[in-house]
Symmetry: C2
Subunit: 250 residues, 2 copies
Amino acid sequence: MAKDIYTAALIIIGDEILSGRTHDKNTPWIAEQLNEAGVRLAEVRVIPDDKQNIIDTVNEMRGCHDYVFTTGGIGPTHDDITSESIAAAFGVELELRDDAYAELLAYYKDESEITESRKKMAYIPQGANLIDNPVSGAPGIHIGNVYVFAGVPRIMQAMFDAIKHSLTGGKPVETRSVSANLAESLVADGLAEMQGRYEMIAIGSYPKYQNGKFGTTLVLRGTDDEALAKATQEVTDLVKSLGEDNPIVA
Amino acid sequence: MAKDIYTAALIIIGDEILSGRTHDKNTPWIAEQLNEAGVRLAEVRVIPDDKQNIIDTVNEMRGCHDYVFTTGGIGPTHDDITSESIAAAFGVELELRDDAYAELLAYYKDESEITESRKKMAYIPQGANLIDNPVSGAPGIHIGNVYVFAGVPRIMQAMFDAIKHSLTGGKPVETRSVSANLAESLVADGLAEMQGRYEMIAIGSYPKYQNGKFGTTLVLRGTDDEALAKATQEVTDLVKSLGEDNPIVA
């Protein structure tokens, strides 16, 4: 039976994010793609390059959500331990796969170029499907409800594009926003009253602080276009009644 | 007894991050501050504005780590449920605190400006300390090993600055990096051999892909300055031996 709500978790495997060195750019991109697919990103975890941690996190998340995506750690270096961890999470072995090897060969052109380190990228958990990597040869992995992507945004995006059609989702979540040069505490009362009346629309209030002034963006999200349009109009009227002459509605 | 390793978890409370609308900017900033304080950011979780989820996550994380930081959800609107969730996680009540109210009053200047929604920000979990908010009046919260910050980066940073001196950490983790215009698969073998010899230095390899070309940044992290300098020199020599004439060492 079709469900109303499909959820996903994103597991970002990367010491480089936790050290502050690299800024994660994958979360917002994946979140937006999932919105379009009618799948709700319900949780993101950033964890270190640690095998047991990856195993435990993948096993916990794949039991809780329809889909799990991981980014990072499928390259050729010693700190790339995602594939072996995924295999361990599913209780299967890694095997050297002819089809994955063929993809590497197509990329590196010559057998002599496939060093032991590069060959590592053709070891795939038993029973997994490969996800095409048009950028750098080494494939992603799909096993159970888990999709294993590279961490480099350009490659991750290509892999996601390759599997997006296979995701089953509910109605896409649509978003509207109303931005006003008002402190959010001014709109709080009216907004709370509105949220009480619009059960199926999630209304969020996001303050910003720029050049010594507060502004607020009110974000409405839901799957019912008509209710969304009506609620957006109400929010617009609310901020106008509070003194914002030119709210930005998007 | 002083420990060698202190760890922290960051809990980002925010539907707006999970929807892809807002890009989290707090993680790298907090990670770097913690590096300086000798505390390792061991895990980040992005969770929705859901009370039970906040309670469960806070309780799990505060049992695993020396410090827990949360961002988001302490404002005046209906979707700001962090304070009540933190109180519930610790099994205490929220109470209207005179000192928190005084901070609001100092900010809003007049009692008539303290609407019910704004007053909500003076309700603090019993037994908590306030964290000064020099930007917008409403204080952060410190209870047990949990620090509750605003989500707006400018305010979060001011709150972190206010508590940073009170964190106990180990030796600060120092970072060096060596960037080369080489595919990471080329350095993989040499790097794995090196990592075997440098147990106390974490060596990470981070590929990038720009303008159709691969490059790699090799990152070395550790608390032993001398070992770090020696390992950085070895990595530099390694990439030079593989054909990179001008590695960028930082």
